[in-house]
Each structure stands twice: as C-alpha cells, then as structure tokens.
C-alpha cells in the first residue's frame, strides 16, 4: 500500500492505462506544462508525447466534439474539461453527439471516450466553478456517470472508465484533490463500474451518497454511533448505472433511506434513488441536498450552502423518532 492523494491516484491510473493501450490519449487545456489543475496529468506529456497529451485552445465544444470524432474513428480519448461548469459549453457535443452516436447509427459506431469534468465546492471559487450537475448526465441515455470519493477509487474507476466502450462522464470532486488515502500499486485491476461500496455498516438506517459528501455522511454516521444509532453508509461510486441491488438490500434490511448529496436537491439524483426505493420497498425515504441557490463566494455564505454532518445526523434522528 502506498499513501497518495486523490489527484496523484488519478494520475497513476491514467499513466497505467496510457502505458497499457496506445489508443488512449487526452486532450484539454493546460495539460502539459501545468499538468492539469491538480497535477493529475503531471509529467505525462513528457512521458507519452504531445500527440497523446494534447494541449488545446480554450475551445470546450471542440475538445468534447473532437473526442467524439476521435472515438468514432477508433481511438480512446479523454476530454478534460477542468470544471463541469465549463463542460456546459460542450453539452451538445456530449449529449447530442457522443451519447447518441452509437444508437442513432444503429450500432455502427462506438464512442469509447471519457469526459472528465470535476464537480463541487473547493472553497471560494463561487457560482461558475463549483457546481455539481451530475443529475443532468445521469438523466441522459447513453452516458455512464462516475463520481469517485477516495484516492483508490479515483485510480480504479478512472481505469475502468478508460476501458469502457461507452462514453463516461467522469466527475472528480475538486474538494478531494488533496485527500490522502491508501492505494495498492501492485493491484492493476480497474474497479468495476456500477458497483457501490459500503463504507459504514449499520442496521438502523441506510445513508446513500457520492463524491465529497460521502466523507460527510461517514462523519455523521460516526457521530450517530456515539448515540447508539448505527447507519449503513453506501458510496454509490457510479451514479449511472447506480448499484440498485446494494441500495435495495441495505434499505430492505434497515427499513429507512436517506440520500445526501452536495448538488441542488430540486431535481437532484437523490430524488430518483429515493423514489425507486420508496416504490420498490415502501420504506420511509428522505433527501438532503443543496438549496436551489447558486454557490456563493464568501465563507459564511458558502458554508450556509453545504450539508454538514450535524444536519445529516439530525435528519436521521428525525427519521428514527
């Protein structure tokens, strides 16, 4: 086991996949000298050449559209968007083209690309650099949506996404870039897509979350444990397809479900999970998500947006009352 950050683990996963498969390449802004926003591409241009780590103009539509074309033409591109907020400049290329090319053409083509677009609050980067629009892409047929929450997952899930023959929206959480965790460098296997991880075991309630909110949910579970309440905490890891079996089995056992996410609650993907569980099991469900406001700048304002551990714990206690 090696300790490394979430960003270093992503870099390792990409390096391994690029060494393994010459068809894998990445394109985006500032990947060479800068090595990506968090160093997740650091040194890879020197190692693999500037035709496999391609520094591009600030042209999000073309970064994404070129990835679609390059995938249709037989390669496995990774389109780096830097911020999911910037990827909104390339929604047509991803949603109208990449997600649907295989289907529209009757299965003639595949689009094995990764659209890498970090989400979430990192602190002080406000309304156009902090959003979590994962539900938009989970809503879109043809796309796989991945939201890693740990360094090990950010290596293993990235590897699986690169090997996937479907277009994958890969959403690292910017608040996690510096998170340190154990990574087993000897184990080169990808982590399968669509399989959740149970990070706390309990019997009173199921808490489902993803990305940076997983850590907050775990913190809440630890606090609840001190009060004699045991929570099953599930990190979905892949948002679409989400691990229905893991969630249903847990909720059937605990009899209650709470879904927590940083994204805005209204229309958030938590609603989909809560509804599925309620329809299938008939157990009580609840959601916690951001209020429907832009992410603000100033510290107390930004803090007011976040879903903190004490709020999660309080919500759980209300459900158990």
């Amino acid at each position: 086991m090696t300790e490394m950050t979430y960003a270093q683990a992503a870099r390792l996963g990409l390096q391994e996949e690029m060494a393994r498969d010459p068809l894998v390449w990445a394109l985006g802004e500032d990947l060479g000298f800068e090595g990506g926003m968090a160093g997740q591409y650091k040194g890879l241009q020197a190692e693999f050449g500037d035709d496999r780590i391609v520094d591009t103009p600030i042209s999000e539509s073309t970064i994404m559209g070129a990835a679609v074309g390059a995938a249709l033409a037989g390669t496995r591109p990774i389109a780096e968007m830097r911020f999911s907020d910037f990827a909104m400049c390339a929604v047509s290329e991803l949603v109208n083209q990449g997600a649907k090319a295989r289907y529209m053409f009757g299965g003639q083509g595949r689009v094995p690309m990764v659209a890498r677009m970090p989400i979430g609050i990192r602190g002080g980067i406000a309304a156009q650099h902090s959003q979590s629009p994962e539900a938009w892409y989970a809503h879109t047929p043809g796309l796989v949506v991945v939201t890693p929450a740990t360094p090990a997952d950010n290596r293993g899930l990235l590897k699986a996404s690169i090997r996937c023959d479907d277009p994958v929206v890969y959403m690292e959480h910017k608040g996690l870039w510096g998170m340190v965790g154990e990574v087993d460098e000897n184990d080169q296997e990808p982590i399968p897509l669509g399989v959740a991880a149970t990070i706390r075991s309990g019997s009173d309630i199921t808490i489902v979350s993803w990305a940076a909110q997983v850590g907050v949910a775990a913190e809440a579970a630890d606090a609840l444990a001190a009060d004699g309440i045991s929570a099953d905490v599930i990190d979905l890891r892949t948002l679409y397809p989400w691990d229905r079996d893991a969630v249903m089995n847990s909720a059937a056992r605990t009899g209650r479900l709470l879904v927590v996410h940083e994204a805005v609650r209204v229309g958030g993907f938590g609603g989909e999970i809560a509804a599925e569980v309620a329809e299938t099991l008939g157990v009580p469900v609840a959601r916690l998500g951001g209020e429907r406001i832009p992410i603000p700048f100033s510290i107390p304002l930004e803090e007011a947006y976040k879903i903190k551990a004490d709020r999660i714990a309080a919500r759980v206690k209300r459900m158990l009352a």
Binding site: S59, S92, P141
Partner: protein, 335 residues
C-alpha cells in the same frame, strides 16, 4: 504543379458521375413524394440542385476517407457509397435501414464507407471531423476527413473553433461549405458579417477556394487538387461551393419566402441540366441519357416499393445499442 482533372477528356467518367447525380436526384424526389404520401415521417431535407458537389467531391475520395455531413445529407451519403436501398428503408423506418430505423433521414451513416454520420445539429459535424482527423494522425494513417457544412452553419461557434483547431494541428481536413445562400428561410448574407466563409477560413490561415458548385467539372478539378494536397500534408483547406437550393428547407416547406424569379433563374444553372447539356455536346446520345434516367428511376422506385413492404422493427429494438454499462431492459409489450 497542382493536379489537374481530365474529366472533360473522360466522357465515360462523366457518365458515371452523372448517373450518381441522377441517383441522388431520383432518391430525393422519391423521398419527397413518400413524405407527402405519408410514408416517411419527420423531416426530409432534400439535396435537389446541389448534386454535383457531393458527387464531384466524393469521386476524389477513397472508401476509407471519413465524411461527416449535416441535416441535408442524403446526397453526401449516396456519393460516399452508402446504399440507397438501405437509406430508403431507413427513411421509411423499416428493418434493413442504415440504422435499423433508429435514426431516420437526419442520422444516416455507413461506417463501412467512412460515412460517419449525417447530423441534426448545425455545425456539430465540424468538431467531430477534427477529432476524427486527430485519430488519423495518432494511428499514423493517410486518410483524410471531409466535413460538409452549409452557409448557415458558418455562424455557429463550433465551426470557428474547428477551423482554428484544424489549422493549429495542421490536420488533414477538407471543409466543404455548400453555399446555397439561404439558412432555412433566412437569407444568409443578411445575418452574416464580413465577407463570408472564404475570408473567415483565410483569416485562420486556411486556403479557401470559391467555386461554382453546380459545375461538376470545376468541383472535380478543384477537389482533385485539394485532396492531393491535403493527403500530402498541406493541412486543412476549405472549398466554398456556390449553389442554390431548388426546394424548400425541408419537403413540407413551399419556400414562399423567396422571389419566384430567383428560382427561375437558378433552374437554368442547375447541375443536372448543365451536366446533361455537356454530355449531349460530347457525343452521348439523348437516347442513352433517357435510358440512364429510366434505369435510375426504376432502381429507386424498386427501393420505395421494397421499403413500403418491408417489415417494421420490433419494439424491443428501441432498447438495443444504447450503452453496454447500464444497458436498458425492454419492459415488454402492454406494460
């Protein structure tokens, strides 16, 4: 020395290209009729009046060269080698269509001949093209990519982005702007600043040739030269082919927004009439041309007949080819 076309010295080749133009014209007339008869749903954007461009461009491509098209893509597809039988079945939404009925008119593709797809979104093909060219570069192939765009598309951002991108990386892309002068119902020059597409391309350092797109000979000779240059590493180039859309934006558009005299004048310059006149002047008999037309009409009529009688796809097919990971399940009939 630029490669020059000897098409005028090759009447047999002209006949072959004329036949392809006739095939496109007959396909489009039949598709329009089938639309009016209620057999074809959605939208049918006919390529009538622009046939010499697709045929003249694609005659100079290899099967493994890539092509990306737009909403008005039937002509490009046929010229690149897609089979009109499978295309007609697709328009009718039947089994055996190019996309098995999943795409329809605006999503015709035939990857076996490098046709990477028509496109329902204006100018989105531009970015796909530069990406395909980047794959060609990475795979060390000597293919090129041709992207067809209309004059309306040059005002979308992705077109400008893709021009810049293609030049920055000196990619093997030929942009072909079919300038039929009207974007749906809007006269393009009224909504386009500057001196138009050729100047825009040149401002990126991309060589741009403006030609009479209705002149098969000029399209062929220019394309032969430009394709050879691109294949030899010239980087991207653009051809602006001036033309005129003889029909409405789509089959149900009577094009009431334009002056009938403009259409009348255009009819005298249209490519079928001009190519046919050349053939008559160069030793091809009227009876031979009539026989060619009859043969092509029969061929297309046969495809329409076949499409009318072809089976509909099973509802379960709507659920295939979406994605491998998280593939949808067919919930069955009567759910």
């Amino acid at each position: 020395m630029p490669v020059s076309s000897n098409l005028a010295n090759e009447p047999a080749r002209v006949v072959e290209m004329f036949r392809k133009m006739l095939l496109i014209r007959a396909f489009e007339e039949a598709a329009g009729q089938a639309f009016h008869d209620g057999h074809v749903r959605g939208s049918v954007h006919q390529y009538i009046g622009e046939e010499s461009i697709a045929v003249g461009i694609c005659a100079n491509l290899r099967d493994d060269d890539f092509l990306t098209s737009n909403h008005r893509g039937h002509g490009h597809s046929i010229a690149k080698g897609a089979h009109p039988r499978a295309m007609m079945l697709e328009l009718f939404g039947r089994v055996g269509g190019t996309s098995n009925g999943k795409g329809g008119s605006m999503h015709i593709a035939d990857f076996s001949v490098g046709m990477l797809g028509a496109n329902g979104v204006i100018a989105d093909g531009c970015t796909i093209s530069v990406g395909a060219a980047q794959a060609i570069r990475l795979l060390k192939q000597d293919r090129i990519v041709v992207n067809f765009i209309g004059d309306g598309g040059i005002n979308r951002g992705p077109f400008m982005e893709a021009l810049n991108w293609a030049k920055v990386y000196e990619l093997p892309v030929l942009f072909v702007c079919e300038n039929n002068q009207i974007a749906a119902s809007t006269t393009t020059r009224l909504v386009t600043a500057g001196e138009g597409i050729a100047k825009r391309a040149e401002s990126f350092g991309i060589p741009a040739a403006t030609i009479d797109g209705n002149d098969l000979f000029e399209v062929d000779s220019t394309t032969a030269r430009v394709v050879a240059e691109i294949r030899n590493g010239s980087g991207p180039q653009l051809i602006q082919a001036m033309t005129y859309r003889l029909r409405g934006h789509f089959a149900h558009d009577p094009a009431a927004y334009r002056d009938p005299r403009e259409l009348e004048a255009a009819l005298g310059r249209e490519p079928m009439v001009r190519t046919e006149a050349w053939l008559l002047e160069n030793g091809v008999g009227a009876d031979e041309i009539a026989a060619l037309k009859a043969e092509v009409d029969d061929e297309i009529a046969g495809y329409v007949d076949e499409a009318l009688n072809a089976p509909w796809p099973d509802g379960s097919l709507a659920f295939t080819d979406v994605q491998d990971v998280g593939a949808p399940e067919y919930p069955g009939e009567g759910r």
